[in-house]
């Protein structure tokens, strides 16, 4: 029993991504029509050429009708799914498997979330109160549990950790400033980030990803068919998804400085893709920077930094756009906000642009020097109890 992977069996031949932000004048249906249309155009096909659809959304609709109704899909299979914040990546993963299985020739993975209609700060509640015994803390509070635990374990002063968190937010906003599709397209001074009003623990408002609307889509075909659609397809190297036993909140052995689910899915993905040293082999990584301590810990869990050293790498600029390994070159959740169903596919869209050399001012130099692999990562839930997705795509089939 193992994860066998489908390395190089399917490819992405077209993608679309709306701008992310406060789309007061566009509903979820509008965003779906826009992202799907851009993806179809990108692949040079029409809607009727798509054989099956996977729609990821957490809050913005139920059932395949959420997609088939606005797109007027004629009697084709449309699956709607959610898997917390990995929802968009899950739509992509399942669409890839459907094509790899031979069941369909052409599949669309599309994700959408319309968060700004709720009127709330942060995400709406998804759970009922049940027996009323779970602490009703917010997402930033759950992820802020990482900060004091990490600082304590590695002997970092609180102020120093805040500098690290600030550096992460600053870097992602700096990248987002170069991205016309981002929600926030301005650099933010470190002082502004560091002094922003506190939300939870040491997390200020600038340590939290925004709340936005958006949609993104990908067209997936068998690898051998890819060049019929584009000269520059992206080959799917790895797809790994794990759900943990949610042991952290009940197991004293969990220390709130790591996501075991991410370690497991990264190991699986690297095995599928044949990656030995992610930091040396990847051109870029889009990771789930829902909150700045999350990105810090992810650098270690994804194997980019040795345990307990990510904070030094962050301060050294290792993950900057022009650093050793660009992390969140598009600006990340920090600049895009986090429309749940769309985020995973939005990350993939940046891989699509970067590996094809189409990222403009954000173009990563290492692609030109021959790095051909890009990673996307999502996690959903909270420290100690989450789901994690790690995917790897590449611009060339393996030798």
């Amino acid at each position: 029993m193992a994860s066998n992977g489908i390395r190089d069996r399917v490819a992405i031949v077209g993608m679309g991504c709306t701008s992310f932000g406060e789309h007061w004048d566009r509903g979820a249906s509008d965003l779906l029509v826009d992202a799907a249309g851009e993806a179809l155009t990108s692949a040079g096909i029409e809607l009727r050429h798509v054989d099956a659809f996977w729609l990821g959304t957490l809050f913005s609709g139920q059932s395949g009708l959420t997609l088939s109704r606005p797109l007027k899909i004629d009697y084709k299979p449309v699956s709607r799914l959610e898997n917390y914040c990995a929802t968009g990546s899950e739509a992509f993963r399942n669409a890839c498997y459907a094509v790899a299985s031979g069941a369909y020739d052409v599949a669309m993975a599309i994700g959408v979330e319309k968060l700004k209609d709720s009127g709330y700060s942060g995400l709406p509640n998804t759970r009922s109160a049940g027996d009323g015994t779970a602490a009703a803390m917010t997402a930033p509070a759950m992820f802020s549990l990482l900060a004091p635990a990490y600082a304590k374990k590695y002997g970092i002063e609180a102020g120093q950790l805040k500098d690290v968190m600030t550096r992460i937010a600053w870097k992602n906003h700096r990248n987002g400033a170069l991205n016309p599709r981002a929600q926030f397209r301005k650099e933010v001074p470190k002082e502004t980030i560091a002094c922003s009003p506190l939300v939870a623990g040491p997390l200020g408002i600038f340590d939290c990803s925004g709340v936005s609307d958006g949609s993104a889509a990908a067209i997936i075909v068998r690898a051998e068919d890819a060049r019929r659609y584009t000269d520059k397809p992206l080959y799917v190297k790895a797809l790994s998804f794990v759900a943990g036993p949610a042991a952290g909140p009940i197991d004293p052995d969990y220390d709130y400085t790591t996501f075991p689910e991410v370690i497991a899915s990264a190991a699986d993905a690297y095995a599928q893709a044949g990656i030995k040293d992610a930091r040396q082999e990847l051109a870029m990584a889009e990771v789930h920077d829902c909150f700045t301590p999350t990105e810090l810990v992810l650098m270690e869990d994804l194997g980019f930094s040795a345990r307990g050293t990510a904070w030094k790498d962050v301060l050294a600029g290792t993950f900057d756009l022009d650093g050793e390994l660009a992390v969140n070159p598009d600006g990340g959740l920090k600049s895009f906000g986090h429309p749940i169903g769309a985020s995973g596919l939005r990350m993939l869209f940046e891989c699509w642009l970067q590996l094809r050399g189409e990222a403009g001012k954000r173009q990563i130099a290492s692609v030109g020097r021959g790095r051909k692999l890009a990673l996307t990562h999502n996690l959903g839930g909270a420290p100690g109890e989450c789901v994690s997705f790690v995917g790897v795509v590449g611009s060339e089939p393996s030798a």
Binding site: N125, T138, A141, P249, D251
Partner: protein, 466 residues
């Protein structure tokens, strides 16, 4: 011989300085402080804490629980059942409310005293008046509990009832219509006129039954909502001056249905063997009782140590907690009420803080699990109550975005001594003082009231070196 085999008292953490009222409203206010139940406390949760204290180390399990308060959290639903559940009493134990007035406390004590089985009387109250009024200023919040049983080797009677007498009368001194935020009262001198002879007569009769005279009392406790009448009855009783108990006005305030119980617990803490203690309650009549303290070892309630409280509560905070000052809620979804079937299924967890221990590997689980997080054994769990087990903070946060009746919400990851972890809300805590490694204990609280439902559960509070 049947009598008191255990007792306990609970005073909330917060104290309001009376001068803070004066400063805010420009009205006169006396010296000292009053005890303030936190935003997450009600008479039921205060009662649970007093009940826990009374049962701690008790060698007997109550088969009846009588809960008295003037301020029940629910009407048309028994509140004593929540206390029964939180104290983890057996289903066979009776539980009933005796509520609505200060005199209810006398009823609960008599019912527990006269029961044929071990019985617990829980006396609890939260006293509030309109801003600027005497009830707000002079009231106090707290609870006391007394466990009655026959003398036995593992449940020794520490105080034995020797006499009781009553004088009942119908007159309007203090009253409140259901749902009203504050009581009304008649002219003070009228109540004094009505109460004093009733008090004197009940005390005289009780002393006569007991065969003692007032100077023979080691302690005289007079309590009741009418301050002037209480003082006059105490002064005129003929007891030795040093025997008249401190009325706790300077520290706690008048805790209504709990007040006589709090004073009695304080007196028991300090009593010597063979002391005689008289308790007079002036509430819609007068009820007097006389108790003889035995030589059996007592587990003190620590009333005097609790008088000072832990933290000052500002007057605006007090008003917000009491519902007189409505704060802007965060831009977040409204809190949801617990679901009745889910709450019933997890009664042992939600109310008694009972987790489970894996019988295959020994791992503790909070909340109880069917599958062991460590060894994955299925359905090998035994229930284990952790309400009295201290814990250490592994990590924590201060959530300034979450809805809380008194933001910010403090949440800590707790590792319990002997195993087990739980993410718990904290209370009675300074958000800026929380540290990894701090020790905490669990306390029963009303987390929130949503949709007309009180959501009771446990929170962690700092042990402050305990």
């Amino acid at each position: 011989m049947r009598g008191i085999v255990g007792y306990g008292a609970y005073l909330p953490y917060g104290r309001l300085e009376r001068k803070a009222i004066a400063e805010a409203l420009g009205s006169p206010a006396g010296p000292g402080t009053r005890a303030v139940a936190s935003y997450d406390e009600d008479t039921t949760s205060l009662g649970v804490e007093a009940g826990r204290a009374a049962l701690r180390g008790a060698g007997v399990v109550p088969q009846a629980l009588y809960f008295a308060t003037s301020d029940p959290a629910y009407l048309d639903k028994t509140n004593a059942t929540a206390i029964h559940a939180a104290l983890d009493l057996p289903a066979s134990a009776f539980a009933v409310d005796v509520v609505g007035s200060v005199r209810s406390a006398v009823g609960a004590m008599r019912a527990a005293r006269d029961a044929r089985t071990p019985a617990l009387a829980v006396l609890s109250d939260i006293r509030t008046g309109l801003p600027g009024g005497a009830d707000e200023r002079d009231g106090g919040d707290g609870a006391a509990a007394f466990l009655f049983a026959d003398d036995a080797p593992d449940a020794r009677v520490v105080a034995e009832p020797v006499a009781a007498a009553s004088a009942t009368a119908e007159f309007l001194d203090r009253w409140r219509l259901p749902g009203e935020p504050a009581s009304r009262h008649w002219e003070e001198r009228f109540g004094e006129h009505a109460y004093v002879p009733l008090g004197e007569s009940a005390l005289a009769e009780a002393l006569k039954q007991a065969g003692v005279t007032a100077p023979g009392l080691a302690r005289l406790i007079v309590a009741g909502p009418h301050g002037r009448a209480v003082k006059r009855v105490a002064a005129a009783a003929g007891a030795k001056k040093e025997a008249v108990a401190d009325d706790l006005a300077a520290t706690v305030g008048n805790a209504g249905a709990a007040h006589a119980g709090l004073m009695f617990a304080g007196a028991l803490d300090q009593a010597q063997a063979d002391d005689l203690i008289a308790v007079v309650s002036l509430a819609d009549g007068a009820d007097a009782s006389v108790w003889r303290v035995t030589a059996a070892p007592r587990r003190p309630a620590g009333v005097s140590a609790r008088l000072a409280g832990g933290a000052r509560v500002s007057y605006p905070t007090f008003l917000a907690w009491r519902g007189f000052l409505k704060r802007e809620p965060p831009r977040r979804p409204d809190p949801q009420p617990p679901e009745a079937p889910a709450a019933r299924r997890s009664e042992a967890w939600k109310f008694a803080f009972t987790g489970s221990r894996c019988q295959a590997c020994g791992a503790r689980h909070l909340p109880p699990q069917r599958v062991c997080v460590k060894c994955h054994a299925v359905d090998r769990m035994a229930p284990e109550r952790l309400a009295d087990v201290p814990a250490t903070i592994a990590t924590f946060t201060v959530d300034r975005l979450a809805f809380s009746p008194s933001p910010p919400m403090v949440v800590a990851v707790l590792d319990f001594e002997g195993g087990g972890r739980f993410q718990s809300e904290m209370t009675d805590v300074d958000p800026s003082a929380v540290k990894i490694g701090d020790r905490v204990g669990m306390t029963f609280r009303r987390i929130v009231t949503a949709g007309g439902v009180h959501n009771y559960f446990w929170k962690a509070r700092p042990l402050h070196g305990q």
